[in-house]
C-alpha cells in the first residue's frame, strides 16, 4: 500500500515535470507557431541563473522563483527581437535558427561555466510514507506545476492580456485592425514562454543538476509533448504530459529507465499517427 502511494507520487511528479518543461514551448508554439529548438537551453540557463544567484548569496527560493524566470525571460525577448521576428511564417527556418541558437548557447555556457555539473541541494528535506522515505521537494515540484498551469489558465481566460493574446493568435490581421500591435504581443509571448522555461529549469535544477548539454535531454521530450498535445496550450500540455508521464514512470518502475524512455517515445509515435493534430486536435477542442 505504501509502495502504491509512493508510486502515485512519482507518477504525479513525472507528469508535473513533463508539464513544466513543456509549457514554455507550448505557449510559444501555440501562440506563434514557432518551434523553439533552443528551448532546452532556456531551461539549462534557468538552472544556471538560479545556481549562480544562490551561490552569490540570494535566498534559494528567490533565485529559483524570481531571478531565473526574469533572466531567461529577458533573454527570450532579446532573441525574439534579434532573430525570430525576421522569420515569422517560416516554420522550418525558425526551427533551424533556434537550433543554431541552441548550439551557440551550449558553446557559450561551456566556455563560461565549464562542463562540470553544478547544482544546489534540494531544500525541504524528506517525508515518510509508511515504510518509505521520499523527497519533500518532489511534492514542491508538483505544486509549482499546478500553480503555473493554473496561472496560465487564469491569465488567458480572465484578463485583458489573455484576451489580446488569444485574439492575436486566432487572427493577427484582425487583431491589428482592432488596434493591437502584433509584434509587441509576439515579443511579450516569447518572453513569457522563455521565462516559464527558465522557471522550470530552475525548479528542476536541484533534482537533476545542471550542465551545458542538459538541454538535449529536455528538448526532445518537451517537443514530443507539445506536438502530441496539439495546438491548445493548456489542455494539450496537461493531457499529453499525463499520458506520457504515466507511461514513462510505470514502465520505468516495472522494468528499467531505458525501457521507460522507449515506451514514452513509442507512445508518441503511435499518438501522432492516430491523431496527427495532437490530442487537442480531436478532444478538448474548445480548451485553452
Amino acid at each position: 500500500m505504501d509502495l502504491v502511494a509512493l508510486l502515485a507520487i512519482q507518477v504525479l511528479y513525472a507528469i508535473a515535470s513533463l508539464a513544466l518543461i513543456s509549457v514554455g514551448l507550448a505557449i510559444i508554439f501555440g501562440m506563434m507557431r514557432v518551434i523553439n529548438l533552443a528551448h532546452g537551453e532556456f531551461l539549462m540557463l534557468g538552472g544556471y541563473a538560479a545556481i549562480v544567484a544562490t551561490n552569490h548569496g540570494s535566498p534559494i527560493w528567490l533565485s529559483m522563483l524570481v531571478v531565473a524566470p526574469v533572466v531567461v525571460g529577458v533573454l527570450g525577448v532579446i532573441v525574439e527581437r534579434t532573430i525570430i521576428r525576421f522569420l515569422y511564417g517560416r516554420m522550418i527556418d525558425t526551427m533551424l535558427a533556434t537550433w543554431g541558437l541552441s548550439l551557440l548557447l551550449v558553446g557559450l555556457t561551456t566556455a563560461i561555466f565549464g562542463n562540470t555539473t553544478v547544482g544546489i541541494s534540494a531544500p525541504l528535506g524528506s517525508i515518510q510514507i509508511g515504510a518509505y522515505r521520499t523527497s519533500a521537494y518532489t511534492l514542491f515540484v508538483i505544486a509549482v506545476a499546478a500553480v503555473v498551469l493554473g496561472a496560465i489558465f487564469a491569465v488567458l481566460r480572465w484578463t485583458r492580456l489573455g484576451l489580446i493574446a488569444r485574439g492575436t493568435m486566432q487572427n493577427a490581421n484582425m487583431a491589428a485592425a482592432l488596434g493591437v500591435n502584433p509584434p509587441r504581443v509576439y515579443a511579450v509571448t516569447f518572453g513569457v514562454g522563455a521565462a516559464l522555461s527558465g522557471l522550470a529549469g530552475a525548479v528542476l535544477a536541484p533534482v537533476s543538476g545542471v550542465f551545458p548539454t542538459i538541454g538535449v535531454a529536455y528538448v526532445a521530450k518537451s517537443f514530443i509533448t507539445v506536438i502530441g498535445g496539439g495546438a491548445a496550450i493548456l489542455s494539450g500540455t496537461v493531457s499529453a504530459s499525463a499520458l506520457f508521464g504515466t507511461i514513462n514512470q510505470i514502465a520505468t518502475f516495472v522494468t528499467t529507465p531505458v525501457f521507460g524512455e522507449v515506451a514514452l517515445l513509442a507512445a508518441a509515435i503511435v499518438l501522432i499517427r492516430l491523431l496527427p493534430q495532437g490530442i487537442t486536435g480531436r478532444f478538448f477542442r474548445r480548451g485553452l
Binding site: 509502495l3 561551456t110 541541494s121 534540494a122 524528506s126 518509505y132 523527497s135 548539454t213 542538459i214
Partner: protein, 407 residues
C-alpha cells in the same frame, strides 16, 4: 579544401605503406607527444584535468633539459566527445605529426577506437584511465587501476563496516557491467549477497523509482558504479529522500569527476572510495607535486583527480623508458618498458608489469568528508591480477585484443 598547400609544395609522393611513417623526425626537432582527450562535450570534466597533468609533466621535463637532449612538444587534440574525431586525430597524430607517443582516450569506447589506429600506424599508445581491465596489446600501456586492484580491497572493508547485503547501481556500459560483476564476485567470496544490480544509461537523471526500489530491498549498503555528470543526480535524489543517514554507500567511480566537490557535504559525507591517488596523500613526492601543480594552475584548482595522476604517471613512465632506451623508437621504448620500469610517483611506487603492460601500484581507501577525501587505509603494490589471468605479452607478444575476463 582538397589538398593543403603544404603537402602540395612538398611534392613528395606519399606511399601507402604505413611503416615508413613511424618515427622519421630529425634529431634536433622537438619530440612530439600527442594528447587526445575530450576538452568539450559531455566528457570534458574528465579530460580537462588529464590535459593539465600532461601539460605540467611536459613543462617539467622541458625545464629539466628535455629528453635525450631534445625538447618535447605537446600536440593537443580536443575530440569534443565525438568518436569520429578520435579516429581522425589518432590518424593525424600518427601520420601527420609523427608523434613518439599518444596519451589519450577516456572511455573504453574511445580507447577501442584509438587502439587499432595506432596499432596500424605503429605509434606507441598510453591509456591512462581506470577501466574494466583485460586489454592485451603490445603497443599499449595502461596506467589506470582495474577492478581487481580496487574492488577487491573496498568490498571486504565496506562489508566489515556495514553488513553483508549489497545493492549495486551501475552505469550501463562496459565498465559498469564488468565492475558490478567483480563487486558481486567479491561480495559472495566474503560471505555476503547482492540483492540486485541495476544499470542506468549515462544520460539518465531521474532516479526516483530506483530510490524506492532500493528502499524496498533494504540492503546494508549501496555500491555505486555510476559515472558522469547526469548520474550525479542519483546522489542528490538519494540524499533528498533522506536515505543517506540510513543506508551508506561505497564506490570506485565516485570523485573521479570531482563529484565530492560538486555535491554538498550533506549529500555525500561518509561514502567510501578506493583509488590509486588522492591529492592529500602524505609523502614528500606528492607534496612537491601538489605544490608545483598549484603553482602552474592556481591554488584554487579544485582537486587533482585520479585520472590526472594516471596521465602524469603515464608520461613519466614513458619518459623513463625513453631515457633507458636512449631512443624514442617505438620498439626500443616498448622493450625498455617491458624491463619493468618503475618510478617514484606522487601516488607511491609505480611499476610496469611486463606481461600485462598494466601497472603495479599502491591503492588507498578513503572517506568523503566535507569536500575532502580522507585516506583511511593503504594497500601497497597491488598487481593487476584480473588482466594477468588472461594476458601474457611476454609469452604471446602478438596477442591483440580485449579479453572479457571470466568471473
Amino acid at each position: 579544401m582538397t589538398i593543403n598547400r603544404r603537402t602540395f609544395l612538398k611534392g613528395t609522393a606519399a606511399t601507402a605503406s604505413a611503416g615508413l611513417f613511424s618515427s622519421s623526425a630529425w634529431a634536433d626537432d622537438p619530440i612530439g607527444v600527442a594528447s587526445i582527450h575530450d576538452l568539450s562535450g559531455g566528457l570534458d570534466i574528465y579530460g580537462k584535468p588529464m590535459v593539465d597533468a600532461i601539460t605540467l609533466a611536459i613543462e617539467e621535463a622541458n625545464a629539466a633539459g628535455g629528453l635525450l637532449g631534445r625538447q618535447l612538444k605537446l600536440v593537443n587534440y580536443d575530440t569534443q566527445s565525438n568518436m569520429q574525431l578520435y579516429t581522425q586525430f589518432a590518424q593525424q597524430a600518427a601520420l601527420k605529426d609523427k608523434v613518439a607517443v599518444v596519451h589519450g582516450g577516456i572511455t573504453s569506447a574511445s580507447r577501442e577506437v584509438i587502439r587499432p589506429v595506432l596499432d596500424k600506424f605503429k605509434t606507441l599508445y598510453f591509456y591512462n584511465t581506470q577501466y574494466e581491465g583485460g586489454v592485451c596489446d603490445r603497443n599499449q600501456f595502461d596506467t589506470g587501476v582495474t577492478p581487481a586492484q580496487t574492488v577487491e580491497k573496498l568490498v571486504p572493508y565496506a562489508m566489515k563496516k556495514w553488513g553483508k547485503k549489497a545493492y549495486v547501481v551501475a552505469a550501463d556500459y562496459n565498465y559498469g557491467q564488468i565492475t558490478s560483476q567483480w563487486v558481486k564476485k567479491y561480495v559472495m567470496e566474503n560471505g555476503g549477497e547482492v540483492s540486485s544490480i541495476d544499470f542506468f544509461p549515462l544520460d539518465v537523471t531521474n532516479f526516483g523509482p530506483t530510490v524506492s526500489k532500493i528502499q524496498a530491498a533494504k540492503p546494508d549498503f549501496v555500491w555505486s558504479a555510476l559515472v558522469g555528470g547526469a548520474h550525479i543526480s542519483f546522489y542528490r535524489q538519494w540524499a533528498a529522500a533522506g536515505m543517506r543517514a540510513s543506508i551508506p554507500m561505497a564506490s570506485t567511480t565516485f570523485a573521479v569527476g570531482n563529484e565530492h566537490i560538486v555535491l554538498s557535504p550533506e549529500e555525500c559525507n561518509g561514502m567510501l572510495i578506493c583509488y590509486n591517488y588522492f591529492q592529500d596523500l602524505k609523502n614528500p613526492v606528492n607534496e612537491a607535486f601538489v605544490a608545483s601543480f598549484h603553482k602552474r594552475f592556481g591554488a584554487d584548482y579544485p582537486n587533482i583527480t585520479e585520472l590526472a595522476m594516471g596521465t602524469y604517471q603515464g608520461f613519466r613512465l614513458w619518459a623513463e623508458a625513453v631515457k633507458k632506451a636512449g631512443s624514442v623508437d617505438r620498439l626500443k621504448v616498448i622493450e625498455a618498458l617491458e624491463t619493468g620500469i618503475s618510478i617514484d610517483a606522487p601516488s607511491g611506487k609505480v611499476t610496469i608489469d611486463p606481461p600485462t603492460h598494466h601497472c603495479v601500484l599502491d591503492v588507498h581507501i578513503a572517506e568523503v568528508s566535507d569536500k575532502k577525501l580522507n585516506v583511511l587505509e593503504d594497500f601497497a603494490q597491488q598487481k593487476p591480477a584480473d588482466t594477468a589471468a588472461v594476458c601474457n605479452l611476454i609469452k604471446n607478444p602478438n596477442d591483440n585484443q580485449q579479453y572479457v575476463i571470466k568471473i
